[in-house]
């Protein structure tokens, strides 16, 4: 679908640049010199996004550029509908066509906007992050293996309760003040090296994850890497919205690791007046003024 849109952009762009007068007539627009120049400019924009989409393995950005372009076209055509000298029925038809294409563009853009830019319809969201923490692997492992302490540094978690040697019950903050819950089990556990877990059947959100602890060279502490996968609430659209809000999974894991580093190295989550909640993507965007909290 993306490549169809790419070829469409390229074809339309070529026509607009090579024969702006003909395209103007087709769209029912008054064919003045200024209009031709505008049509050519729009053609250059079409060519850019067409070539962009076709040349990229992950054309997400260029597909969204098409959506932006559509918005410009609809705006211009809307203005043309009100202006004199245009053939309104043709302009209306052109507008309807652009609106139709816009819908296709939005669908294609949303579909390719998954965690790593691949088609995300049926795939889970994935988050990855890595950091170096100035403690031995055993110490980092110990904190993580005590699953109940995960809520100290994982911002989206409300609580984790250990229910068995390898079983636990997780409660996380969902969108708009809701909570989501699931039971999980540890599927791999190598002390001081790695822990892997996955949710059990009947979870609100199916998820799985793995953390590795690797000693860094020459006493530089421990390299901690985390991978999580979960079924995105709201599917691909939900994933795109989450990304726009800065709650993209990799970002979330990265922030969690930053807080884990703070907790392991300094004993606490670091807080400032402007960001009293401590490191997290949304907190960094929505700062308070740097004054004591009243």
């Amino acid at each position: 679908m993306a490549s169809t849109l790419g070829w469409f952009s390229t074809g339309l762009g070529l026509a607009q640049v090579a024969a702006p007068a003909a395209v103007n007539r087709l769209a029912g627009l008054d064919d003045s010199g200024a209009r031709r120049a505008l049509m050519r400019a729009m053609g250059i924009r079409e060519l850019a996004s067409g070539v962009g989409i076709l040349s990229r393995r992950r054309p997400t950005g260029w597909l969204w550029a098409r959506v932006m372009g559509d918005a410009i076209d609809v705006t211009l055509l809307g203005a043309a509908l009100r202006a004199k000298g245009n053939r309104r029925s043709r302009v209306a038809m052109a507008t309807a066509a652009v609106v139709g294409v816009t819908l296709l563009d939005v669908v294609a853009s949303t579909r390719t906007s998954g965690g790593d830019g691949r088609v995300a319809e049926d795939e889970p969201m994935e988050g990855k992050a890595i950091t170096t923490i100035n403690v031995p692997p055993e110490e980092a492992y110990r904190l993580w293996r005590d699953l109940e302490s995960l809520a100290v540094f994982m911002d989206h978690l409300e609580s984790v309760r250990t229910t068995g040697e390898r079983q636990s019950h997780w409660v996380a903050h969902g969108p708009a003040g809701t909570t989501v819950e699931w039971d999980a089990e540890i599927v791999e556990d190598v002390p001081g090296e790695l822990i892997a877990w996955r949710s059990l059947e009947g979870s609100d959100v199916d998820n799985a994850g793995r953390v590795r602890f690797v000693p860094a060279a020459k006493g530089r502490g421990t390299e901690v890497s985390v991978e999580v996968r979960y079924a995105a609430p709201g599917g691909a659209v939900g994933a795109t919205v989450a990304k726009l809000l800065g709650e993209e999974p990799s970002q979330q894991v990265k922030d969690d690791l930053r807080r884990l580093k703070q907790v392991l190295e300094t004993g606490e989550v670091v807080r400032s007046d402007g960001n009293p909640g401590g490191t997290r993507a949304l907190g960094q965007v929505r700062q308070r003024a740097a004054q004591p909290v009243g």
């Binding site: 100035n134 807080r271 009293p276 700062q287 740097a290």
Partner: protein, 391 residues
């Protein structure tokens, strides 16, 4: 409490704000007895530091008495008199353990923002924008000091006045580090751009570290006079003299062995067209710096010499003479000062009478007059070199 709030470009005012509270076990609350306006506060005042927000409490040079302690701070007691270093540092991370306190890996809760601009995040700083943590500053009656078991220096000698030790919080160590980065050897000539407080301390420190001669460059006669009279430097007024020709002459063509930039992002230039060019680009934010002092330091330095940058820069500089750096084997060293590293040894130098930090103080004001203080300091009115405020 009363605190100095940034209210937009060229506007600060004293406002009534909530008293700070202990948020973490390693915090302390300090009742401030003396605080100062720093040259780098002027970059905020002028509106050139991104991510400042209306209402932010300014100030990163302060000292006072401990009035409250978090449960994990065991090396201080309520009532202790402390000077607080401007970078906030945890003491535990790899950077802190290498004494690189101003690049502490943990103290900036907004590290993600800083990473977008700079690649990685430095330490949080009191009262210095949200990129550097969003911490309330110390031009106020009280301040919350995180990691109080690492940063604050206890002053046990009651014979030392606030004014003698206050500048251990920033400008004396900053100037000292500027000189230390020059790896001074006997016979060296050190040139210092900027005769503001950091430039004065850099000049004094260069002598302490064994420089043969120190040359200070500025355009304000009264500041150059201070560098000559108090700290024994030679001076060049760039409004009257061509700096590179003068340095060539004074060093018999060698050029200074090391050059210290104690000016930073809002440099002025004697040649109007160059100044206008940088000014215009900075005004439309297509570069964040006016890096003229740095350019001149680089082009003036002797082959194989060191350029030491302690002036504050925020983002991107334009027309950077990288060709001179590469082809003449120059070394550039830079950094926000790792204050915690220098506080104790420099306190000793003050106690031994090797330096008198109070010589730079020209204005003593009440905190309630802070907006006058910023204006006087910014426009160098009334011979202003350094403003000390008392809450």
């Amino acid at each position: 409490m009363k605190a100095t709030c940034w209210m937009g470009s060229n506007k600060v005012e004293v406002q009534e704000v909530p008293d700070p509270k202990i948020l973490n076990a390693r915090d302390a609350i300090v009742e401030i007895t003396s605080t100062a306006i720093c040259g780098s506060d002027l970059h905020l005042y002028d509106g050139y530091i991104p991510s400042a927000m209306k209402g932010d409490i300014l100030g990163h040079e302060f000292m006072g008495r401990v009035v409250e302690l978090g449960s994990a701070v065991t090396n201080l007691e309520v009532g202790d008199r402390v000077v607080v270093p401007f970078p906030i540092a945890c003491g535990n991370c790899n950077a802190c353990q290498r004494s690189m306190y101003s690049v502490c890996e943990n103290s900036n809760p907004n590290a993600g923002l800083a990473e977008k601009l700079w690649g990685q995040s430095p330490a949080g700083i009191f009262g210095y924008s949200h990129l550097l943590g969003g911490y309330a500053g110390g031009q106020a009656e009280y301040a919350r000091v995180p990691f109080a078991d690492v940063g604050p220096l206890k002053i046990e000698d009651d014979g030392l006045s606030d004014e003698q030790v206050l500048f251990l919080s920033d400008i004396f160590p900053t100037g000292y580090m500027g000189a230390e980065m020059c790896d001074i050897e006997p016979g060296d000539v050190i040139a210092v751009w900027g005769a503001g407080p950091v430039g004065q301390f850099a000049a004094a420190s260069a002598f302490l570290l064994g420089a043969d001669r120190v040359i200070v460059i500025d355009r304000f006669a009264y500041r150059l006079e201070m560098a000559r009279n108090h700290y024994g430097a030679e001076t060049i007024n760039y409004d009257e003299t061509d700096v590179r020709a003068a340095l060539h002459e004074m060093t018999a063509g060698r050029g200074p062995d090391a050059c210290i930039d104690a000016v930073g992002m809002e440099a002025h230039h004697g040649a109007m067209p160059i100044h206008a060019y940088d000014r215009a680009k900075q005004a439309v934010r297509s570069q964040t710096e006016r890096p003229h002092a740095l350019r001149q330091a680089i082009t003036s330095c002797r082959n194989g010499g060191t350029v030491s940058v302690v002036g504050v820069y925020g983002g991107l500089a334009d027309k950077f003479p990288i060709g001179a750096v590469v082809n003449r084997s120059l070394t550039i060293k830079a950094g926000q000062c790792h204050v915690q590293r220098y506080m104790r040894p420099l306190l000793e130098r003050i106690q031994n009478g090797e330096i008198d930090p109070t010589a730079i103080i020209t204005h003593r004001m009440s905190l309630s007059d802070v907006s006058d203080g910023y204006e006087i300091f910014k426009h160098k009115r009334d011979g202003c070199e350094k403003v000390v405020l008392t809450p």
